[in-house]
Subunit: 231 residues, 2 copies
């Protein structure tokens, strides 16, 4: 499923965002603007859904090839809205690879924002735990469902990221949404070449990040939104 | 705080239960009946609280020396009601040991029920993950708050536990609620001796579990409640 685009039909990516205060989040504004540049990508804000739409979301999960759980780290886990949706709408019958297997072969990605610098999340760091450790429940869920885990994208202290770091986040996020195997070295050159062709020019990867008009626009958006305290 | 009973005043234990279907749970009925035998122990069902009472629960946290989070494992984590309460009512100011430090020195315990046998929760087991791994977010929260972690009590497949296994769970739970350092070998003899004195008899630990009238009553309760499929 994750490789469906290899066969011709475009891979469908569903981004499920859990965030109780999304309007106050500059990182989510940045990610939403970035996701809007990717075709075949759908953005759903869980907290903003009516109960009926929340219930119907499962059909969009079924239609997707790649599912992204995206949220700020709240007390070392996901916000309650993601757990509530899983508790209420994900059934053992649907998830279990041994039963309906409705998720089998779909890809699962995580995009987690935190208010701490990267150095906090390691043994001996101020949080003394890694984000990979904290995300074990979601990888266990993926395993149960026979889903394919994607490399997690952790965005730490976005409010204080340099423009260069944000450019890196921008590229990693677009790759997570669209590459058959995000971050795979063998595919990186092809991915950049395809983006360069789309811009009608021949560019190296470095030049691409420098010249990309879309990125310049995003930087403007972020500059407007920048504030001292982010999720 | 956790040792307050050493100084004379009784240690106060607050059990916070997150369970969307508590009336259908035989393990929670068993635990509630057991907890009722322990003095200085308060039982709160999060899902059953009105919003105002849910908000006021923080004051009971402040008054307690020992806090127990008790819940069934739902999709490899706690049910949404526990996360929602933490998201809504626990603030960084209250939790941070560097700020108000309102939780500093209080003990935190976890009681987690699962529908799988113990053997499932290990590398190579059907769940391929340990419960200690899945509970890392809560131990990280305890660390942030400078709370004292207690040994976790994991109750696997209660519906199919033998009476002997339930007697063991009964004792471990009472110890978790009441011992200064639950499970500490140096305190076990004193704990059993005190319980024996309370029964007006001199009993060995083994005899105590055999003769304890309260346990016999509990077995009756459980027999009535037993059903094939539990949380």
């Amino acid at each position: 499923m994750a490789d469906k685009d290899d066969g011709g039909a475009a891979m469908q990516t569903l981004i499920i965002v859990s965030h109780p205060d999304i309007d106050g989040s500059t990182s989510q504004a940045f990610l939403r603007a970035t996701a809007a540049l990717e075709p075949h990508t759908e953005w759903v804000h869980l907290d903003g859904l009516e109960p009926a739409a929340r219930h119907q979301l499962w059909s969009r999960v079924q239609a997707a090839d790649r599912i992204i759980f995206q949220f700020p780290l709240y007390w070392y886990g996901a916000p309650a809205s993601l757990w509530a949706w899983l508790d209420d709408e994900w059934t053992d019958h649907q998830v279990s690879a041994a039963r309906a297997g409705e998720l089998r072969g779909k890809a699962l990605g995580l995009v987690v924002t935190t208010g701490h610098p990267s150095a906090a999340f390691r043994v001996g760091g101020s949080e003394n735990v890694t984000l990979d450790q904290l995300m074990v429940p979601f990888w266990s869920l993926a395993r149960k469902a026979a889903m394919v885990p994607l490399p997690a994208l952790y965005i730490n202290d976005f409010a204080h990221q340099s423009d260069a770091a944000r450019a890196q986040t921008y590229i990693q996020y677009r790759q997570l949404l669209s590459m058959p195997h995000p971050g795979a070295p063998a595919e990186l050159a092809a991915w950049f070449a395809q983006r360069a062709r789309a811009l009608g020019d021949e560019l190296t990867a470095t030049e691409l990040t420098d010249r990309d008009d879309e990125l310049a626009q995003l930087r403007g958006v972020v500059g407007d939104l920048r504030r001292g305290d982010d999720d």
